[in-house]
Structure formats: structure tokens, C-alpha cells
């Protein structure tokens, strides 16, 4: 019975993707066609629907580029340009990836440290926890320009200001997940550690750290996606010289829709790649633990 289900489960997804692509083509036809008709009417030229239909997918600056146009742009900027060129999307992705990874790393470390503090110190929990939650109701991305300006005034430029924003976005899920995970140890085990007269440090390394790992990975997946968003948004207002965010901004300034869509698709691929890598690490680690995942 189960085997039959597996065979059937790709079908809905495939038809969904097919539906999206055909809607996309239809929308592109309507939106670009309208744009084309407006243009032709302004020039007082005659037009027919067949003419519009045939030209709608070849407009230079379309309202909505058709999937194949985006694919072409993607191919052009990924494979046909050398990686060192400023027109190469790989070049920009690497810049974004750089600050994403640094921010993700810093955010995870900060998140874990705060979580350890909160779990072991009641005062810290009472004074810090409400603010950590409140910090997420603040639109953190709004402070991106400030952080970049402030750090720029201190002569810190380049990757670090962007990484700080990624860090700010990614520390929260790690903190929340780790607090939950560090407290998820079996009460029996905690009591056993107490009968062994184990110190807080020993309890941490021999028990709590292991119960927290499944939670940690679940949070890391959220955190790495958040870090990517942070890096891209940080590139918007800062006038950054490169990165997917600056591609989006310059694309929107110059009306280069294909460029925007290509950068978007690249960001989507990058995001799912990063989450997939964390996923792989999780499976590898949990397998080594003998599938003892309890989350």
C-alpha cells in the first residue's frame, strides 16, 4: 500500500509546477501584451492580436518575463560570463553567501551562548527573555541601514556590517530552540546526574547538549534561511558594490526585469541549497547517534 503512495506523490507536485508555469506564461502574455498595445497605440500604429501574441515574449523590458526568458538570463549570467566579472550572478551569489555564512555562524554562536545563560541563570532568564521575544516584533531589517552606517563610520566596511544583520535575524530561532532543547532532557536523566553529584558543567556536556541537538538543527534550518534574507536586505540600502540584493536594486532602478527575476531565482536556489546542507548535516549526526532523535 505504501509503495503505491510513493509512486503517486510526485504527480500532484509535478502538475502543480506545470500549472504554475502555464499561469506564468498566460500572465506574461496578458501583462506584456497590454504593455505592447499601449505602446503601439501611443505611436498610433495599427495592431492585431496575432501580432501582439507573437511579440509579447520578445519585449525588451517586459512587465513579467516568461520562464524561458528568465532561464536564458540565468544561463547568460551564470554560465556565459566569467565568474570574476561583475555581470556574473555567481560572483554576486558568492558575495551574499559570504556574509550569510559569517552572520549565520555568529548568530548560532550568540544564540547558543544566550540559551545556555538563560537555562542556567534565573535572573538572566527573567530579564532577557521578554526582550529577546520583543526584539523579533521589531522589524529588525529596518535597522540594517543604521548598522551599516554606524559600522562604516567606525571604518568597518565590507562583509561584517551585512553579517551583523544576518546575525541579528538568525540568533533568535537558535536561542528559542536551544532553550527548549536544553530543557528537554529527561527528568529521570537529570536526577540521575544529580545522584552522581555531577556539576552543572558535567550535566551540560554529558546530558543537556545531547538532548538539545535535534532542537538545534531544527532551529539552524530556520536560522540559515533568515541569515540569507538578512544578507540580501542588508545589501539594499547600503549601496553595496555587489551581492544579490544590489542586483535586485539595480534591476529595479533600470527596469531590467529579467535581471530581477534571475537574481530572485538564484536567491531561491541558494536558500534551498543552504537548508538542504543543514538537513544533510542533521541526518548524518542523528544517524551517528543511532536515530535517537526525539524531536
Amino acid at each position: 500500500m505504501k509503495n503505491l503512495n510513493i509512486g503517486a506523490s510526485w504527480l500532484p507536485l509535478a502538475s502543480m509546477i506545470l500549472a504554475i508555469i502555464s499561469i506564468w506564461y498566460l500572465a506574461a502574455l496578458i501583462m506584456n501584451g497590454n504593455q505592447l498595445i499601449n505602446q503601439l497605440e501611443r505611436k498610433k500604429q495599427q495592431w492585431s492580436y496575432s501580432q501582439v501574441a507573437s511579440e509579447a515574449y520578445q519585449v525588451k523590458r517586459p512587465m513579467l518575463p516568461a520562464p524561458h526568458q528568465v532561464a536564458l538570463e540565468l544561463k547568460k549570467s551564470v554560465f556565459d560570463t566569467s565568474v570574476s566579472s561583475k555581470r556574473s550572478l555567481v560572483h554576486h551569489s558568492l558575495i551574499t553567501l559570504n556574509s550569510t555564512m559569517l552572520g549565520f555562524f555568529l548568530g548560532s554562536v550568540v544564540g547558543i551562548v544566550i540559551a545556555i545563560g538563560i537555562v542556567h541563570n534565573k535572573t538572566l532568564e527573567a530579564s532577557l527573555m521578554p526582550w529577546i521575544i520583543a526584539s523579533q516584533t521589531i522589524p529588525i531589517l529596518a535597522i540594517a541601514p543604521i548598522i551599516v552606517v554606524v559600522l562604516g563610520a567606525l571604518n568597518i566596511t565590507g562583509v561584517l556590517p551585512k553579517a551583523v544583520i544576518s546575525m541579528y535575524l538568525s540568533f533568535f530561532p537558535v536561542t528559542i530552540g536551544m532553550v527548549k532543547g536544553l530543557r528537554a532532557s529527561d527528568t529521570l536523566h537529570v536526577e540521575l546526574m544529580r545522584t552522581y553529584n555531577a556539576s552543572a558543567l558535567q550535566t551540560f556536556w554529558k546530558l543537556r547538549w545531547y538532548s538539545a541537538q535535534p532542537y538545534l538543527f531544527a532551529s539552524l534550518k530556520v536560522a540559515i534561511a533568515a541569515a540569507l534574507v538578512g544578507a540580501i536586505v542588508a545589501e539594499l540600502p547600503t549601496g553595496a558594490q555587489g551581492g544579490l540584493g544590489s542586483r535586485l536594486l539595480s534591476g529595479s532602478y533600470y527596469g531590467q526585469t529579467q535581471q530581477i527575476w534571475a537574481a530572485l531565482i538564484m536567491a531561491a536556489l541558494l536558500g534551498s541549497l543552504l537548508v538542504w546542507i543543514v538537513n544533510l548535516a542533521e541526518t548524518a549526526l542523528l544517524k551517528r547517534r543511532g536515530g535517537l532523535s526525539n524531536a
Binding site: S9, L11, P12, L13, S15, M16, M31, M63, L64, K122, T123, A126, S127, L128, M129, P130, W131, A134, Q136, T137, I138, P139, I140, L141, A142, I143, P145, I146, V149, V150, A153, L154, A225, L228, V229, I232, V233, L236, P237, L244, G245, L248, L249, G251, S252, G255, T257, I260, W261, A263, L264, A267, A268, G271, S272, L274, V275
Partner: protein
Amino acid sequence: MPKYVLTIVYLSLLAGQLALVSSSEQGFYQQSPGLLILLALAAYAVTALLSQLTQLAETHPTYAAVTKVLVPSLFAFMLLLTWQSIVVGFAVSAVLLPAPSAIFYSLGNNLPMFWADFKQTYLKAVLAGYFLGCSAGFIVAQLAVKSRFLRLGLVPLGNFMSAIPIVGIAPIMVMWFGFDWQSKAAVIVVMTFFPMFINTLAGLQSTDAIHNDLMHTYAANKSQIFIKSQLPQALPFIFNALKLNSTLALIGAIVAEFFGTPIVGMGFRISTEVGRMNMDMVWATIVVAAIAGSLSYGALALLERSLLFWHPSFRGTHKR
């Protein structure tokens, strides 16, 4: 009673630091660095006060409600005081970091402008986008829970969407829907749709079969089963999404305004005032955004508490 004596000593240290900051002129730390000792002592006093308060809450549960508010407030107060002391004491340039007093001063002086920004960004874009996105996610989840085909097609898509930076569609939406709030609302609709969809679906699928059977024995019709059994069971999940989306929506609106807006709005204010190096205005805008974000989150949390008083995570929290 040495404990009370200590508390008084701590409080007077804090008051001393407060008096020093409010009465001294710019750059007093540069003239007499020894005054930094008082700041360190005040910081120590606050940590000691905080631990006294948490101990008090443990030994006397009646005070727990008060300390729950007092401890984080005192912590934030000390942060602001340190910020103010260092900025004033070292005469830090306002471009780098404006003092909290300067931020609140410019907030108070420009209230009509901030109100206009708030109206544009929050009351128009955020509310419209939030309601559209959340209700669309809710409705599609209703369809998906009935159709396995739709579910298998949409759930992987939803997981994929959670990994990608959706804010990036902002320039496209600005191109399609113009500079005004409609384009921001469109970004928010896309951002909030999938969290709502995934959570509502998870909530509806978590419903206990036994409850449905019970409703069936009561001869309840479909809408009765939905309203009295399925919806309440799904509500915790739905509120998770609503709370998550409330912060996502504000972020989406502000970031979308970086890509073009009429000359009003919080994102517009931030990007122009950064360009003019008016950092106190930027920070004041963030204070407004923070208050708006926290209030909407708090309102949702209150609503959740009043609707879900029966849920294990809330049971017994309002009464002791």
C-alpha cells in the same frame, strides 16, 4: 535587615548615576574618566537588584506578577542609561549613535509626520496585506485538508517558499502595482500566505479523530463539526502563524518601501534620513515600528489567551 540596606545602597547608586548623567555636560568622561567607576557600580547594582527580585518572586509568589514586569523593565532601563551615559560622557557624534534622549526628543517633535508614516505603512499596507494573505492561506488550507492532491502539490511548495527570501519580490510588486501602498500589501500577501497555509493545515490535520466521531454521534452537521471541534483544535497553530506573520508583514512593508514609495512611509523615512545623516530621526522611526510591532504581537497574544484559555499551555497561567 542587611538585605534592605543593600537594596537601598543599590538604588542610591542607580540614582547617583542617573543624576550624574542628567546634570553633567557633554564629554564628562573624557575630562574625568574616574566617573566610569560609578557607571560600573550602577551596572553591578542593577544586576544585584535583578537577582534580589527574582529571588523575591520565588519565595513570595504573590509578587511574581510584579517582578515579571519589573525585572525586564529594570534591565532595559539600565541598558538605556548606559547608552545615554556613554554617548553623552564620551561626546559620541550623533551620526554614529544618537543618545536615547535625543531620539525621544525628535520623536516628540515630529509626531504628525510619524503619524502620517504610520498611517501609510501600517494602517494601509500592513493591515490590508496581512488580512488578505492570512485569509487566503486559511481558505486554501481548508481546501487542501479535503484534497490529498492539492496537499501533496502545495506542501512541498510551501516548504520551498520558507527557505527563500520572499522580500526579494518587492521590486517586481512595485513595478506591477505602483509606488503606493498596494505594492507593499502585495508583498505582504505573498510573504504571509505560506506560513498561514502550512500552520492551518497542520492544525486541521492534528484534530483528534475521536472528537470527530463524538461530533458524529451528536449528529452534528459539517459546519458545526468545523466550528465546534476542528477550528478550536487548529487554533493554537493558527495563532502561531498569525503572530509570526504580524512581524513578517511589518518587515515586508518597510523593506518594500526601500524600492520606491510616495514621500511618506516608515521605510521611506528610514532610507531618506540615513542619506541625510539624521540618525535620531531614523532611530525614532524604529521606535515607532517597534511599538507598532510589539502592540500588534501583544494584541494577538491577548486574543490567543482569551480564546485558548482551555489549552494546556495557558491553563492556570492567569490564576494562581
